[in-house]
Amino acid sequence: MNLRKHNSGFTRIALLAVMALVGTGTMMLGTPAMAHDADCPFCKLKLLQNTKEQDNEVVLKYGNKKIEYRCVFCAIADSKRYKGDLVVLAPSEKKGEPIVLKRTAANWSAPEGTVFLNAFKKHADCSLLSRAFTSQAALETYAHKNGVHEFKATTMGDFVKNALKPAG
């Protein structure tokens, strides 16, 4: 279970209730999981799961494949390995309404108004600080709520350029 600091108190209570239902022994040895215990194919850190308040799971769809990533930056950075068209479902500020990012004939597109926050220094924070939003206002609300003071909203084009540039 991911009990990161940014989860709300309500989420903690809900999780504790689930644990109580499942039983102490099971809690110690096996807990219900919304996603497999897998690592992000790009940054190799654990995938983060959706919570009741916020979606975190980023999914890259390529043909019949549905690969999960830790954040939208990781998904786009790793998209180099796939040759054809693909789609990235990036969780937005709206629960259950991911933003659909498309790569068609090597060109990336997103719904009008989409902006990106990309403020992480280390991948341990990428899920929190690399996200897509349906509007500038939504991004600012999120940044304020999560204590992010220095940030710049980026467009699809700039975000992709940054994610795809060679490392180092």
Binding site: T26, T31, P32, H36, D37, G63, N64, K65, K83
Partner: protein
């Protein structure tokens, strides 16, 4: 005598010294042969060892069938060469450049593999002279490896015949071979807990990575070859071989060496003794690598330690012991994870669960996708090979969805309604599947996961599907799914999936920070 007569006489004298063709087989006069020189009075002691140092395959019609998959055969030839080159450098004072010059030489061979299996003694003569007794132990086990692979590839035998022959090969090895490694599960944490353990992987990560890459190939190929249509073995090796060359040979971040039960779970369940003996062989390789490269061990002591390491895994050492028994954490700990008798207890693990490097904690008797107990018997479920791992799962849905979530190409091997027919599916990077059975159809009628092996199945034909539905009226409304239709389906992670949340035993947690006031 005049000048001409002198020349003729000289020529006649010379002619008499030359053999006169084949008549009389040489025609040399024994009285004119130079005398043999006597050998020196003191010869090296090992020359006095009258035991034969070279062995060959037990005669069998399937020997060398591995060449039906040329790339696999050449890669295995290169593995033998790589081992020998590394060992020779370890024993001739070249350890300092193992991860540079030795690695480069071996890597060249891996990318330009020999077409024939080399004689390792020719590549590592010093190793043979110093540790010939070790080489004998390796040789017998390597031959067992090679013959079982050949057997599984030969298309002329049925699978019943092959399984019987695998049993015979094991019996021959176990009862007749003079130097044998035990087929009992061994506690890997114990074996890898010697004073020298870990030295090689820590100090020579690249060459150790090659060794563990070889072991990945040698453990993964068994499920690739066993109980599958022989015509699928070559296309499967396209996937496995590509992974081997591009990724597995160059991984330096593995927690532990690949194990048979992890990489070929089906074969290991069916032939646990053979699986254990190969794991114990690979563990012996690791121990020898550690000993040979540990500078703090004097040469004479190295020999004693190698003999001790051998003794630890010899079959004779464990005579009378039984699988599943033994004092935990000791040399005679022969327990195994539930559901996987072909594997010893791993670091931090017990019979309930084990830590699989790269996959996390798991129970070997449960589906890797839905965490429900694996089925037994003829409807054994499926395996999924993707991203370097192979997992046993309960059903076709579990297999497909696990592959869907994993980047790269994948292989599914699944049971069908015909116990003699295994379905093999191979996907491309996009998850488009090709089937070994051209008429395959699928049943998938979603219900509770504890019964998924009932409602998610593969059939060899539409007729077989209809017969099943006729015998099982619960599915009377089900339609057979084509491969294309089945490929498009996908479900979220099963609600039954349970993640075991324990830390990686190979990566100890950092010490807690000192409490306020301490250490200041």
């Amino acid at each position: 005598m005049n000048r001409t007569q002198l020349v003729l006489a000289a020529l006649a004298l010379a002619a008499s010294a030359v053999p006169q063709g084949h008549a009389g087989h040489g025609g040399m006069n024994p009285e004119s042969r130079a005398p043999l020189e006597a050998p020196p009075s003191e010869l090296p002691a090992w020359i006095g060892n009258k035991t034969a140092d070279h062995i060959f395959y037990k005669p069998a019609p399937y020997n060398f069938a591995v060449y039906r998959i040329p790339k696999l055969a050449y890669d295995l030839n290169a593995v033998a060469t790589g081992h020998a080159m590394a060992y020779e450098d370890m024993v001739t004072g070249k350890a300092a450049t193992l991860d540079s010059k030795t690695f480069d030489r071996i890597n060249w061979v891996l990318n330009h593999p020999p077409k024939l299996m080399p004689d390792e003694a020719a590549i590592s003569p010093t190793m043979g002279r110093l540790y010939g007794y070790l080489e004998k132990l390796f040789d017998w086990s390597h031959i067992l490896h090679a013959q079982t692979v050949d057997l599984m590839i030969d298309p002329r035998l049925s699978w019943q015949q092959k399984d019987a022959e695998i049993e015979r090969l094991w019996k021959f090895y176990n009862e007749r071979a003079p130097f044998t490694i035990t087929g009992l599960p061994m506690n890997m944490e114990y074996l890898d807990g010697q004073p020298y353990s870990g030295h090689f992987r820590k100090n020579y990560p690249k060459v150790n990575g090659l060794f563990w890459g070889y072991h990945w190939l040698q453990t993964t190929m068994y499920d690739m070859l066993w109980h599958v249509p022989t015509e699928t073995q070559l296309p499967q090796y396209d996937v496995v071989g590509e992974r081997y060359h591009q990724v597995e040979l160059y991984k330096t971040d593995r927690d532990f060496m690949p194990m048979m039960g992890e990489s070929s779970p089906r074969f290991s369940k069916r032939f646990p003794e053979m699986a254990n003996s190969f794991d114990n062989l690979h563990m012996l390789h690791d121990m020898v690598n550690d000993i040979l490269t540990s500078d703090w061990i004097p040469l004479a002591e190295k020999e004693r330690q190698i003999k001790r390491a051998m003794w630890m895994v010899l079959a004779s050492t464990h005579k009378g012991c039984k699988p599943g028994e033994g004092e935990p954490g000791t040399l005679h700990d022969h327990r195994y994870p539930m559901g996987m008798p072909g594997m010893g207890i791993m670091k931090g693990g017990d019979e309930e669960m084990m830590y699989m490097p790269g996959m996390g904690w798991m129970r070997m008797d449960e589906c890797g996708h839905c965490s429900i107990a694996l089925p037994e018997g003829e409807r054994w479920g499926a395996t999924v090979s993707a991203n370097g791992w192979t997992m046993l799962v309960r059903c076709l849905l579990c297999a497909r969805d696990m592959a869907t979530e994993t980047p790269g190409r994948a292989i599914i091997r699944a049971s069908t309604e015909d116990p003699k027919t295994t379905l093999v599916l191979i996907s491309d990077e996009e998850g488009n599947w090709k089937s070994s059975l051209s008429n395959v159809v699928f049943l998938e009628v979603l219900a509770d996961h504890p019964e998924c092996s009932s409602w998610s199945r593969a059939f060899t034909s539409a007729e077989a599907f209809r017969k099943f539905v006729a015998d099982n009226p619960d599915y009377k409304d089900a339609k057979p799914l084509s491969l294309a239709e089945w490929s498009q389906l996908g479900q979220p992670t099963p609600e039954t999936y349970r993640k075991i949340d324990k830390p990686n035993p190979y990566k100890p947690a950092p010490p807690p920070p000192p409490a306020k006031g301490e250490g200041s």
